[in-house]
Symmetry: C2
Subunit: 397 residues, 2 copies
């Protein structure tokens, strides 16, 4: 076993000297505001559409880093350089505030470069990431307007949560009333993100509900895994959607749960989250080529997702976070063994030392499938958040 | 060069002795009617949802084969065996007629096994394939009710064509008003399918419009290829959708165009379709592993489609049809050279001699990605139609 401290410097330096500078250099749109996120291998912009998920996530990332690291001593990263992080966050927030919302306050899915709406506000996760962005930035700035945007968006999410897609929902109501894992999973995290803006009773109630949904309703004890879609009462639906497993989603949720459990000193909850993580890893690890599959079918049938066997950046970096938090909170040596295995695969395949930042999409064999650093879904979020979380957790070991 | 006649027997026998019997044996749902289309490698049912595209396409396939082959001498396939084809078509049509339509006459996207609606009628291609199915079956049966279903569905398609997704459309009207290649491409084919039910002036007008759309509007002469999405006036949109190329779609459309050109004795149109086919093949052929890519970007940028590099059954079988028709109509030797190359790749990778029928989804390397014979999108359609078209065209060489 290599000492944990060996890894600390790698995660820290990659965050501060590679990933964050890459986005600072290549993503700001100085003409129209906001960020370019479609960046090729070397950082050239290959498409100018602005996706609200990624605009908001980048605002969040720079705000979060500023809030956590903006004023503490940090070798080699002077304070004025970190003040630029706050400017980046404000740059994105201005664009979002000006162009991001429809008349009813819900957030569009995407905009043109100059801010005209392209895709309607059908996707509630646009609202989730906007809440995170303005919540973090309101802390950094002490800005009441930003706080209000975060709070009012959060209130709308809670109102929309039972039918988030509204009239864009293609499912016939009642025939197969499945509910999806993503929203309760994100609400776990979101309620902590804007805790400073919420009534404490609402925070506690939301957290209680989310933990119950994730660990009791979506977790299938017979299968030993978390399902992506279940019937309203948590029962299994033997359908494509009901059989679907999204291992990266499940493992990412486990570190949200571990954070909540740590806050409550609930060791049993941490232990359960660690068990689910390890069982998911065993199930979803590709024994032939290494790495974690993107989608699986709980009965081993073919998935509808043609990309099921691909290896994605966020799946792997979120897994590293979960394993380190699990190890830190329980000392379970299986977490460390798996951390070293996933670390080795991840660092051998995703980073691009030549041009900076990380690739996002690999084929099953671990070769680069799309030579992009950013696109419609990959932006300045999972890699920097994951590197930050790993770095911080490693320093506690 | 191997003589064309060498291939004829292979295409014929595979259709009549392998593919059609596979669907006859494994797909009928004797309890609730209609067809199972989610069939694993050996034909076992792994999911029971009923997708209107595939229900209708299977009705069409069995009706078409009955109409073309039902009463002619055919070695080794007695007449009574072919009468079963008509029973299969009726079996599917009964289910569709009973359960397939919403109150306004539009066709749902999918149903449960017992016919309850699952996914709303947001997808106009459900209606297109229903039209084809009932149009062909009305010929076989001389059935007025089937003819009426085909005709009224076709009329609704024409009414919906400018906004086919209705309120399920997520694009904000006006910002980037792209139109998609699939509908004009299918209307080319559809108007001939139900010609017997339409006013001749409407048929001619629809065909004229479709040829113009496909060959002038979606074909980009500077690029030398057909685009999947263009601005209303045919101009290029430098966006993910605007840069998208779908080589299999373009090549499939070329044999619809060749059929229309043959009907009009328009040799210049055939020659143009052959040129587009050959240029698309040169552009989309994978020089490393063989086979045709599924999606590409006209500027060489990363696509949004993670499955871009995969090799799909329909792309390859439709290409074989186009190349043979092009060769038959023009004698261009490039068509035959490409036919032999695509034939060799296709027959080496897609058929499954052990369990019958063909695989649908291969990875870039040509290995089986999903070991299914049928699913949400692959049913009893492209393979039998392609084998039939190739067989018939080969006999004319």
């Amino acid at each position: 076993m290599i000492a944990p401290q060996t890894y600390t410097q790698l995660y820290r330096d990659t965050l501060l000297n590679d990933v964050i500078p890459f986005w600072q250099k290549h993503s700001p749109d100085q003409e129209y505001g906001g960020f370019f996120t479609c960046l090729d291998r070397t950082g050239n912009v290959y498409d100018t559409d602005k996706f609200i998920w990624l605009q908001a996530r980048q605002v969040w990332t720079f705000s979060m880093l500023y809030n956590r690291l903006g004023s503490i001593p940090l070798d080699g990263t002077p304070l004025e350089q970190r003040a630029d992080w706050l400017k980046m966050a404000q740059h994105g927030a201005n664009f979002l505030k000006k162009h991001g919302r429809a008349d009813d306050g819900s957030w569009y899915f995407s905009l043109t470069r100059d801010g005209r709406p392209l895709i309607q506000p059908y996707n509630i996760f646009s609202d989730c990431f906007a809440t995170m962005a303005f919540g973090q930035l309101s802390v950094a700035m002490g800005n009441e307007e930003y706080a209000h945007i975060a709070k009012s968006t959060f209130d709308q999410i809670l109102q929309r949560r039972d039918n988030p897609k509204g009239h864009w929902n293609k499912a016939v109501a009642g025939t197969r009333p499945l509910k999806n894992f993503a929203l309760p999973m994100i609400l776990c995290n979101l309620s902590l993100e804007i805790e400073h803006l919420l009534d404490q009773a609402l925070v506690n109630q939301t957290i209680d509900e989310c933990i119950h949904e994730v660990m009791d309703v979506f977790y299938d004890p017979d299968l030993g895994l978390i399902r992506e879609n279940v019937m309203p009462d948590g029962q299994f639906s033997d359908s494509f959607e009901g059989r679907l497993l999204n291992p990266g989603h499940a493992i990412e949720a486990m570190w949200f749960i571990m954070d909540l459990a740590a806050r409550r000193n609930d060791l049993a909850l941490v232990e359960k989250a660690v068990r689910i993580t390890l069982d998911t890893l065993t199930y979803a690890w590709d024994d032939v080529h290494g790495g974690l599959f993107y989608f699986m079918d709980s009965k081993g049938h073919p998935t509808q997702q043609l990309e099921w066997e691909q290896k994605l950046w966020w799946v792997h970096v979120e897994t590293l976070v979960t394993l380190l938090k699990g190890y830190q909170q329980t000392g379970n040596p299986e977490c460390w063994v798996w951390f070293e295995r996933v670390h080795a695969y991840t660092w051998a395949h995703f980073p691009d030392p030549e041009s900076g930042e990380w690739y996002g999409y690999l084929n099953r064999q671990g070769e680069v499938l799309l030579p992009l650093k950013g696109g419609k879904w990959k932006g300045c979020f999972h890699i920097p958040r994951g590197l930050y979380q790993c770095w911080q957790t490693l320093t506690k070991l």
